[in-house]
Structure formats: structure tokens, C-alpha cells
Point group: C2
Chain length 243, copies 2
């Protein structure tokens, strides 16, 4: 089943209060690294899978992309995207990313930010993406890191004084569903090993260009309380590949 948690009003309200929802890319800890691995966007056709508020679509429009399609399963997300991040060459489309149907070789770039860990069948998605990408085109995505998704709690282990002791890893090779708490709600995510992420891409003939576990920027480390703890565990994984 394709979960559409973001159309749940309570969840959506909480999500809308996160810094990255209110302030966009600059408030996202991984943006500095993600921006660095993006190819040139000028005159490129771009598909954003799980576009949410459309911050990345708008960024691409500002960088001179020729055509941008943002896809998201949540109508609430896309209402906000249309309101906050519209442009003449951005079109937002409401569907699950597994259901996309586009002509072969119709995009220069397929992009996805922190959405693919909601997808059950990564191989199915990658085969679709490969088909709709032009030769030499790029697929760039961020997901929650396998270290972050393995255990399921997505929470630190604390000591008796309430201080962080370490981050737990467990059931690493048992891939699949994890019911985890995000913004006070139970959300279903899918844990995959790093091996699976990379070997599915390689076996679908993608060439690996970058694999980066982003650290928060110097700015965020200095300005956001507790951000330094993010140097103790990898939380996200950014992968860019080329067809």
C-alpha cells in the first residue's frame, strides 16, 4: 500500500512547522551537500519525485531549468507547492512516485529528496527512472541512511542523566518495513542496506558519480542547538548516478 501520511491533517500541520517547511532549502541540514552534487540545471528538464512543498522545483526554475515536473502523493503538499513555489515552467502532479508514466528518455534529471525510504520496491522505481532518463542524464536522491533506518526507533540511546550515549543499530540485514515515530505519528518507512541501494543502481546500468553522507553545514552546527550531535551518526545518504 502506498501510504499518504501527509494528507493526514494533524501530521501535515506538524510537518508544516518544521524549519525546512517554513524556510525552505537553507534550513535543511543536508542542502549544502546536496546542492554540490547537483549537475548544471540550466535548460534541463527535471522530474522531482516526492516534491513536497516544491522548494527544489522552484530552485531548479531559478537556475534556468527548461521544464520541471513535481510529483507528490499528497494533495495538501501540492496545494502548498502551488502557493509557495509556482513558476510558469513548473507543473505539479498528484500521484505516487511508483505510478509515474512518462515517455522514454524525456528527462535530463530525476531528483528525489527524502522520499524514497517511503517506497517499498526500490528496484521497480529505479527501472522506471532509468527508462525515462535521457542518455547521460542524472538521477540524484537523498534518503534516510541505512544506519538511521535499521533499528526502527530512529532515536538515540540515552544514559541515566538523559544524555546521549550512542545510536543503536540492529536488524541491519533484515530489510523492509519499519514503523517509526515521526512528529508524534507512526509512519511506515522501508529499511534497505547500503548494498541494496548501490547494487540495484549498478545492476540497472547506472554509473555511480557520488555517494555522500551529508554533515550539517558549519552554519547550522553553530546556530542550531543539538545539531553537533548529528556528527555522531549518519542520518542521510545522498547518491548521484548517471545513465
Amino acid at each position: 500500500m502506498k501510504e499518504n501520511k501527509y494528507d493526514n491533517s494533524v501530521f501535515f500541520k506538524k510537518y508544516s512547522e518544521m524549519p525546512r517547511s517554513k524556510y525552505g532549502l537553507s534550513a535543511a541540514g543536508e542542502w549544502e551537500v546536496l546542492e554540490r552534487v547537483l549537475p548544471q540545471l540550466k535548460d534541463k528538464s527535471i522530474l522531482d519525485l516526492g516534491c513536497g512543498y516544491g522548494w527544489h522545483c522552484k530552485y531548479a526554475a531559478n537556475k534556468g531549468a527548461s521544464k520541471i515536473v513535481g510529483v507528490d502523493i499528497s494533495t495538501k503538499m501540492l496545494e502548498l507547492a502551488n502557493l509557495k513555489n509556482s513558476a510558469w515552467n513548473i507543473s505539479y502532479s498528484c500521484m505516487a512516485m511508483e505510478d509515474i508514466e512518462f515517455q522514454e528518455e524525456s528527462f535530463d534529471i530525476v531528483f528525489s529528496s527524502l522520499a524514497i525510504h517511503y517506497i517499498k520496491d526500490f528496484d521497480f522505481l529505479v527501472r522506471k527512472i532509468y527508462k525515462i532518463l535521457k542518455k547521460g542524464g542524472s538521477f540524484i536522491f537523498s534518503v534516510e541512511h541505512p544506519v538511521f533506518t535499521a533499528h526502527g526507533s530512529q532515536n538515540w540511546i540515552f544514559n541515566e542523566d538523559g544524555e546521549i550515549n550512542h545510536f543503536p543499530v540492529d536488524n541491519y540485514y533484515y530489510e523492509g518495513k519499519r514503523e517509526t515515530n515521526f512528529l508524534g505519528e507512526v509512519v511506515t518507512k522501508y529499511h534497505r542496506t547500503l548494498t541494496t541501494y548501490l547494487s540495484v543502481l549498478l545492476s540497472n546500468n547506472f554509473k555511480i558519480k557520488n555517494v555522500v553522507e551529508p554533515m550539517p553545514s558549519e552554519d547550522l552546527l553553530n546556530s542550531v542547538p543539538g545539531m553537533k550531535d548529528e556528527l555522531r551518526r549518519p542520518m542521510m545518504l545522498i547518491i548521484s548516478v548517471e545513465k
Copy 2:
């Protein structure tokens, strides 16, 4: 400083009693996966960095490799290698792997099994390896997984009943020295993030062919007590790249 722990008699004795020392490749949990990512060895020239007992060198000789050079920092290791795993086309050489000096483009394959986590400067080593590899040549290596080296203890967190609770990750982005207990002795290893392993290879113009976190084979899972716990954490990382 290049540590040469294996020439310490007490440590070496304990190492010699490990299943992989006594019985060779078939007793190494990762061998099944490692063998699968190896290129054809027939008529190839091969350099094995940190060759230890020489099990992989002998394997390559049996597979028809034309020339095999095994390098190790420990004279004790190489004594055993000469005794157990010699062949007319294998030569063993005692030196630290950072100190290798070979002609440019003189090897088809550079290989290293569970030794590179003892090396401080990975980038320096990779540049050397790139130079001595022929065009189209392969570099294949296994190391302890960054998840396994980050915290430093390399041990599970147990509950009050002495059962495994989970595996700890900490200080992931703080790379460098870890003093860890191996066979009852303090051994110095170097923690590196996955990002560093892969980005150093990519920035040195290697093409990534395989990235695999090996699971123990079905046989070992069924026959060795406790081996199933190794499905709860990734312990090793195997990477193969091409020049």
C-alpha cells in the same frame, strides 16, 4: 607510525588460532561474497596488500594467475605464508603497504583483505594503487565496515541478562584512530566514513563496480553458533573498482 601488531608473539599466536588462519578462505564469513566480486584471475598479475597467511595468493595461483606478489608488514605472517601457501609464481615481500614501489601499470589486479583499516592515509594509498594498475585493471578490497569501526568498542551492547540489545554507533563523522580490543590485545585501527572510502576512489578516477556489505554464507549461519547475530549489524565492506 605503521603498527606491526602481528609480529607480537602473543597476538600472533592468538591470531593463528582463528578459524580463518587455520582453515583458510572457507572459514572466512565474507569469502563467498568476496569471491563473487573478483574478476577473472587467469593469466593476470596480482598484488595482494596485507596478504597475511597468503590464502588469497594461493587461491589466485590455483586460478591460473600469471604472477602474484604478496606484501605484508609482519615477518611472522610471511613465514607462515611461505610455509602454507607457496607456489612458483608467488613472491612474498615484507613491507608496509604504504611503502610499495612498483612500476606504473604493472598489475592487472590489486587486492586487499581486511587490512586497509590499519592504514592512516587512504588517499595516499589509493593514488599509489591507481598508478601501478594497468588501464582497465581492478582494485578489490575488504575493510571493517564504518558502522563497525565508528564507536571504537567493536562490541555489542548487552542487556542485564547478557543478551545482545543492539550495536552502538557513535562519533561517525570523527574519523581517525580507534584503539580497539582484538584477541585480547589493544590494536590501532582507523575509522573512515563510507563517504571517504567512496569519494577518495571516485576522485582518483576509479569507476565503482561493486559495493557490498557481505553477510555470512548460509553454511556458516547454520553451523557456527552466534553467527546469526551478524545479520544484526554490518561488520565488513567490500568494494571493487576499475581503472
